[in-house]
C-alpha cells in the first residue's frame, strides 16, 4: 500500500514547460501546489560548452526516466513496432532547459483550419482521412495569455503586427498583438544578414524569430552571450528563459509551491464517481499517494497519454477520461524533417551562432498564400540559423563531391566546414484517422508498465508541403549564392518527436475530444491536462509558447473557478 501524504489543493505532474508555467497563477492565487518532477534540479554549471556532451553523450537525458520508457514506433498497424529514442528531458524546467527556445505564437489560421479552408477553397479541400477540427478557441482568445507568458518568462522578438499596425521588420503574417515583445530580438549575424538580403530580392519578408532568450538584463538574468551551445544544452548564464529560472522560482517564492524531485508518477487515482482524488508516485523505493482536490497532468504528450491509459479504474475501465475512446487519438508529430542543405563558396562565420538566432520566411506558411491551384492546404515556415560545431561540421553531407572518408574527404571538410548551412523547415501537419497512440503489448519499462506505441505516418498533404517548401528553400539559398543544394526526402513513419501533439485533444465535442475548451477532462472535471497533447493542429512553428499560454489559461481558470471545479 502506498503511504498516504497530507492532502494538497493541486498536484501538477511534471515541472517542465507547461507545469512550470501553470504553477505560477495557481500559487499567486493562494492555492497550495505540489509539483511532482521525474528529474532533478540542474544549474548553469551543468551546461558546459561541450558538443560531444550535448550531441553524442546526450547528457543528461540519456540517464533519465524518459529514456527508459521510450515509445515504440510503427508507420501502420501492419508494421512491427520498434523502440527508438526519447528526445525529452526530465528535470525541473523540463525541455525548456535544453531546447532551441524558439517561442512562436501560432498564426490565427492554425486555430480554424477547417472553417477557413472550407470558406476559402470549399469542403473538398480537407485531405481524406483527416480528423482535424477547429479549435474551440481562437487566436484572439489566447492572445492575452501569450502576452502574460512572454512577459513573465522573458521572450525576445520583433513584432510584426501590434494592434493592426504592420511592421515589416517583424512577421507581417502574425496575428494581431496587443503590445511589442518585452525584449528586442536576438541580433543578426553576417550569415543571416546575407540570407535576409537574398529574401528581400525575392520580394519576401525576412525577420528575426522570437526566442525565450534574453537580449538584455531581464528580471535579474544576464543577456545571451551567443556562445552557441543551446541545442540540447542549458544556458551557462541563465539567458535561456527556462521555467526553472523564471516561473518556477517565482512560484516557490510565494511559499505555496513544493517541488518534489525524482518522483515517478504511476497512476492517477479516481473514486467510484469518476472524480480524481490524487496520484500515486514512486520516489526511491517508496510508493506514495498524494491526495489533491485537482490534478494537472503536465508531462510530455506521450507520457500524458500513457498515464491516462495506465490509470484504469472502475469508473474508467479503459483508462482515465477514455470512456469515449479518444485518449491517444488525433496524434501527430510536426513534420520538421526533410531539411535542405546548401554549400556556399565562402565561409559563413557561423561557429558561434545559436539555433534561435535565425531568420524566418512566413510567406509559404499556413494560409499566407493562395492554395487555389495547389493540391494541399497549409505550408511551411522556412528558417535558417547560425549554428556550426566541429563534430557536426565533419559529419555533414559532401554534396556528392567526394566519398565520406580519406584524404579527399579531409580536404573537403577543411575547406567547407563553415561553408554549409541547413534549413529548418516546419510544416503544417494534420491528424489522421489511422494515426494514434496506445500501450505497447510487448515492450515494458523497468517497472513492468507498457510503454507507448506510436502508430502514425505522414499523409500526402504533408509530403506535398515538403516538396513545395523545399523548392522555395532552394530558391532562397540560390539567391543568396549557394553553389550546391541537397534536399532530404520526406519521411514516412512519425517517430518520437520533440514536437508531438494530440492524444488528449481540446474541443467542445466530448465524443471526439478529451478536454474541454478550458483544458479540463470532459469525463473528469477536476483533471486538467497541459501540454501539446491538447493541441489539435501543429501550425508551422515550434509549440512551446502555445503550450505555455494554454497552461497559464487552464491554471488561471482553475484558480478563478475553484469551487465549481473541485466541487
Amino acid at each position: 500500500m502506498p503511504k498516504t501524504l497530507a492532502k494538497t489543493d493541486v498536484v501538477i505532474v511534471g515541472m517542465g514547460a507547461a507545469g512550470g508555467v501553470a504553477a505560477l497563477p495557481l500559487t499567486n492565487s493562494g492555492l497550495k501546489v505540489i509539483g511532482l518532477e521525474a528529474g532533478g534540479w540542474l544549474s548553469p554549471r551543468d551546461f558546459a560548452p561541450d558538443e560531444l556532451r550535448n550531441s553524442s553523450r546526450n547528457w543528461p537525458q540519456s540517464m533519465q526516466k524518459a529514456a527508459t520508457e521510450a515509445p515504440t514506433v510503427r508507420a501502420t498497424a501492419e508494421d512491427q513496432a520498434n523502440q527508438g529514442g526519447h528526445p525529452m528531458m526530465n528535470a525541473v524546467g523540463g525541455t525548456t532547459m535544453h531546447y532551441w527556445a524558439q517561442s512562436w505564437r501560432l498564426n490565427p489560421w492554425d486555430f480554424n483550419v477547417v472553417s477557413a479552408t472550407k470558406e476559402r477553397y470549399g469542403d473538398h479541400r480537407l485531405p481524406a482521412g483527416t480528423t482535424v477540427e477547429d479549435w474551440p478557441i481562437t487566436y484572439d482568445d489566447l492572445e492575452p495569455y501569450y502576452e502574460k507568458v512572454e512577459v513573465t518568462v522573458g521572450i525576445s522578438g520583433q513584432a510584426g503586427n501590434v494592434q493592426g499596425e504592420i511592421n515589416k521588420e517583424g512577421n507581417i503574417f502574425e496575428g494581431e498583438r496587443k503590445s511589442e515583445y518585452p525584449m528586442a530580438a536576438l541580433r543578426s549575424s553576417p550569415f543571416t544578414d546575407m540570407m535576409s538580403a537574398a529574401a528581400k530580392k525575392l520580394d519576401w519578408n525576412p525577420f528575426q524569430g522570437p526566442a525565450a532568450i534574453t537580449t538584455e538584463l531581464y528580471d535579474g538574468r544576464a543577456p545571451c552571450q551567443y556562445h552557441g551551445f543551446c541545442n540540447k544544452g542549458g544556458c551557462h548564464v541563465q539567458a535561456k528563459s527556462s521555467t526553472a529560472v523564471t516561473s518556477i522560482p517565482k512560484a516557490i517564492d510565494t511559499g505555496n509551491l513544493e517541488v518534489v524531485t525524482f518522483a515517478r508518477v504511476t497512476n492517477i487515482v479516481t473514486d467510484n464517481n469518476g472524480k480524481v482524488t490524487g496520484v500515486d508516485y514512486i520516489k526511491g523505493n517508496e510508493t506514495f499517494f498524494q491526495p489533491a482536490d485537482a490534478v494537472l497532468l503536465a508531462s510530455y504528450a506521450y507520457e500524458n497519454v500513457r498515464l491516462l491509459q495506465l490509470s484504469k479504474s472502475r469508473a474508467f475501465p479503459n483508462g482515465l477520461a477514455n470512456n469515449a475512446g479518444q485518449v491517444g487519438r488525433h496524434y501527430l508529430t510536426h513534420h520538421q524533417g526533410s531539411p535542405v542543405m546548401a554549400l556556399f563558396p565562402k565561409d559563413l562565420h557561423n561557429w558561434y551562432g545559436l539555433p534561435a538566432q535565425g531568420v524566418a520566411i512566413d510567406e509559404w506558411a499556413d494560409d499566407n498564400f493562395d492554395h487555389s491551384d495547389l493540391d494541399f492546404i497549409g505550408g511551411a515556415n522556412l528558417w535558417v540559423h547560425t549554428d556550426r560545431k566541429p563534430m557536426s561540421a565533419a559529419k555533414m553531407t559532401t554534396f556528392g563531391e567526394v566519398r565520406s572518408w580519406g584524404s579527399d574527404w579531409k580536404a573537403f571538410i577543411m575547406k567547407n566546414a563553415d561553408r554549409t548551412n541547413y534549413a529548418y523547415i516546419q510544416k503544417t501537419t494534420l491528424p489522421y484517422e489511422n494515426n494514434y497512440l496506445d500501450l505497447d503489448p510487448v515492450v515494458k519499462d523497468p517497472l513492468g508498465l507498457p510503454v507507448t506505441r506510436i502508430t502514425a505516418r505522414y499523409g500526402d498533404n504533408e509530403k506535398r508541403i515538403t516538396a513545395f517548401s523545399q523548392e522555395k528553400m532552394e530558391q532562397w539559398y540560390l539567391e543568396a549564392g549557394a553553389i550546391k543544394i541537397v534536399k532530404s526526402p520526406p519521411g514516412n513513419a512519425m517517430g518520437a518527436s520533440t514536437h508531438a501533439y494530440g492524444g488528449t485533444r481540446m474541443g467542445d465535442n466530448s465524443e471526439t475530444n478529451v478536454v474541454d475548451r478550458w483544458g479540463f477532462a470532459h469525463e473528469a472535471p477536476n483533471l486538467g491536462i497541459l501540454g501539446a497533447s491538447v493541441m489539435g493542429t501543429s501550425g508551422a512553428r515550434n509549440p512551446t509558447l502555445t503550450v505555455q499560454a494554454l497552461s497559464w489559461r487552464t491554471a488561471e481558470y482553475l484558480a478563478n473557478n475553484w469551487r465549481s471545479i473541485v466541487g
Binding site: 534540479w41 554549471r45 561541450d50 556532451r53 552557441g228 551557462h236 565533419a394 565520406s404 571538410i413
Partner: protein
C-alpha cells in the same frame, strides 16, 4: 593544472623526430597526450604521475612515460583500429589526422562509458576485419599497405564482407562516427589532442561568449585552444573556487 600540463604537452608534441622511430601507437602514447587526456578524466595513472612530483613535471624537458592502459580494446584491436582510423582521417600533406588527434584513445575510453553499448560490435567487427585480411592476405589489417587497407575498407563500407555486427556497412559507419567524434570533440575526452581536429576545420575554439566582432572574423579569429573544462565553473571543484556563475547559496538547489 590542466593548462600547465597542456603547455608541456604542446612543447613535447612538437618534438616529432625523437619519437618517430618508436612506431605509431607507441609514439602516440608517448606524445604525452596521456597526461592531458587522462588527467582530465581523472585516471589513476595520471593522477599518480601528478602526485609523484608536480614540480618536476612543470620543468620537464624530455618526454614522460605516463602510464596509460587500454581500457576496453585489446592490443590487437587497438592497432587494427588505429590503422582503420588512419584511413578514415589520414595524416597527409594537409596535416595531422585521426592518429595525431588520438581518436583511438578516445574510442577506447568511450567504450567504457557513453559508447559502452558498442563494445560488442567493436569486438566482432575488428576481428571480422582481421579474419578477412588473414584469409585473403595472410596478414592482419594493420600490416597491409595503405592502398590495400583503403580498398578493403571500401568493401566494408559497401557491405561486401561478412561477419560484422550489425553489418559491415553498419560497423563502418559506427567507426566513422566515433572517429569523427574522437578527432573533433573537446580534448577532455582524450581525442582532438593538441586541438588538431579543431585546427583542421579552422574552428577557433569554444568561448563563453562571442561578440559581433568575434563572429565577423570567422576563421580569422585566433584559436584559443581551450577545453570547456579549462573553465573552472564546469569542473568538479568549481563550487570552491568560483561562485559567480554557479548556483547561489552553494547548497541544495531546491
Amino acid at each position: 593544472m590542466t593548462t600547465d600540463s597542456e603547455k608541456i604537452n604542446n612543447q613535447e608534441g612538437t618534438s616529432e623526430g625523437q619519437n618517430q622511430s618508436l612506431g605509431l601507437s607507441r609514439r602516440s602514447l608517448l606524445k604525452g597526450a596521456g597526461i592531458v587526456g587522462a588527467a582530465a578524466v581523472g585516471s589513476t595513472a595520471a593522477s599518480t604521475v601528478m602526485a609523484q612530483d608536480s614540480s618536476s613535471l612543470m620543468s620537464a624537458s624530455k618526454p614522460i612515460a605516463a602510464r596509460e592502459a587500454l581500457e576496453v580494446l585489446t592490443a590487437i584491436e587497438a592497432s587494427t583500429l588505429e590503422a582503420f582510423c588512419d584511413c578514415l582521417i589520414p595524416s597527409d600533406e594537409n596535416g595531422p589526422g585521426a592518429k595525431e588527434a588520438r581518436a583511438v584513445h578516445y574510442i577506447d575510453r568511450s567504450l567504457a562509458s557513453h559508447n559502452s553499448s558498442s563494445r560488442h560490435n567493436y569486438m566482432v567487427g575488428l576481428s571480422a576485419l582481421n579474419d578477412y585480411c588473414n584469409k585473403t592476405r595472410n596478414k592482419q589489417f594493420s600490416q597491409l599497405s595503405k592502398d590495400l587497407q583503403n580498398s578493403i575498407l571500401q568493401a566494408v563500407q559497401a557491405n561486401k564482407i561478412e561477419g560484422f555486427a550489425p553489418s559491415a556497412a553498419g560497423f563502418f559507419n559506427m567507426v566513422r562516427g566515433h572517429t569523427i567524434d574522437g578527432t573533433f570533440c573537446d580534448p577532455y575526452y582524450g581525442g582532438n589532442q593538441n586541438f588538431v581536429g579543431w585546427d583542421m576545420v579552422r574552428y577557433p575554439g569554444i568561448r563563453l561568449g562571442a561578440s559581433e566582432t568575434d563572429v565577423a572574423q570567422g576563421a580569422q579569429l585566433r584559436p584559443n585552444h581551450q577545453s570547456a573544462y579549462d573553465h573552472s565553473t564546469y569542473t568538479k571543484i568549481a563550487s570552491n573556487i568560483d561562485t559567480k556563475i554557479g548556483t547561489t547559496g552553494g547548497g541544495d538547489h531546491a
